[in-house]
Assembly symmetry: C2
Homo-oligomer: 153 residues x 2
Amino acid sequence: MDEKEKAVYRVREFTRFYMPMLELLGNHYLGSEYSATEARVLFEVYEHDGCNAAHIASTMNIDKSYLSRIIKSHESKGYLVRMVSKTDSRSRELHLTELGVELTRDFIRRSNAQIGEILAPLNGETCEALMHALDTVTELLKDCRNKQNGLQE
Amino acid sequence: MDEKEKAVYRVREFTRFYMPMLELLGNHYLGSEYSATEARVLFEVYEHDGCNAAHIASTMNIDKSYLSRIIKSHESKGYLVRMVSKTDSRSRELHLTELGVELTRDFIRRSNAQIGEILAPLNGETCEALMHALDTVTELLKDCRNKQNGLQE
DNA sequence: GCAAAATAGTTGACATTGTCCACTATTTGA
DNA sequence: TCAAATAGTGGACAATGTCAACTATTTTGC
């Protein structure tokens, strides 16, 4: 097993450990009454106010008809509003309502609380170490991605 | 924002980056015709030959009736066999068939290939760095878990 | 040893989640 | 200006997951 194979094995092993640890598996978002997909749609609009369904469908990689229904449901619950775009009347700009913003922020709070609970035993030093290690992983993987895109594009 | 809050934020940020990077979202396992759940069941039996459904249900945290049907389906496709346990006749030991082992190994090969492709630009040195960083993250998070379980149990 | 509780697994009914295809309306582009 | 592309909707359906009831065992407490 050479270095590269070891690293691949290690990434797989890490993933198997990391995902269940953060309870990222399963369908309900942080034990809320909303599915992970429903929550992510709200999150997407929260972060990209005024985006349209096509944007969400492509970034989340989900079916547009499915998304259409999720958006409809969010609208009916008063979490977001749709406004016909002025530049393209096929497209509707999505905006969270105050209620939707509240709900989304509550998701974020709960997610923070959950992770905060997991990290509770860390002290200043180990916090630093964790963040540093996460930075390293992120940098290395981003480098990989950039180099590959650089070659292809 | 204190150290702890920074770390929590950093973990969330990392997760948002890491999961899509490895294409861990979505329902099909590595573009196969099997769902992630179906594949994970095979994987579980592959790693724990002779385990029973209860073991899988608890480690995967899925409904036993759902699992019962997945196992039935795997059996009907010839991927595994069930044998009544000699020590507990309520329980059935699960064993992959040769075909099931083949399929599972193929999943692992494909997963390795996929991750290998992502890691392709790494060299010996950066491989080491990545593995070391993953080890650090794993250790720190495991410590958190152990300390918390230590307090509770 | 025995009744009650717990456990392994199955099944039916159902709810949720996601996919596929056809369709309208609009915009883009040759 | 007309064909192709894009945004979004809706119907039909398939896949995925949940809940409760049930049988057959095993374990537990007495």
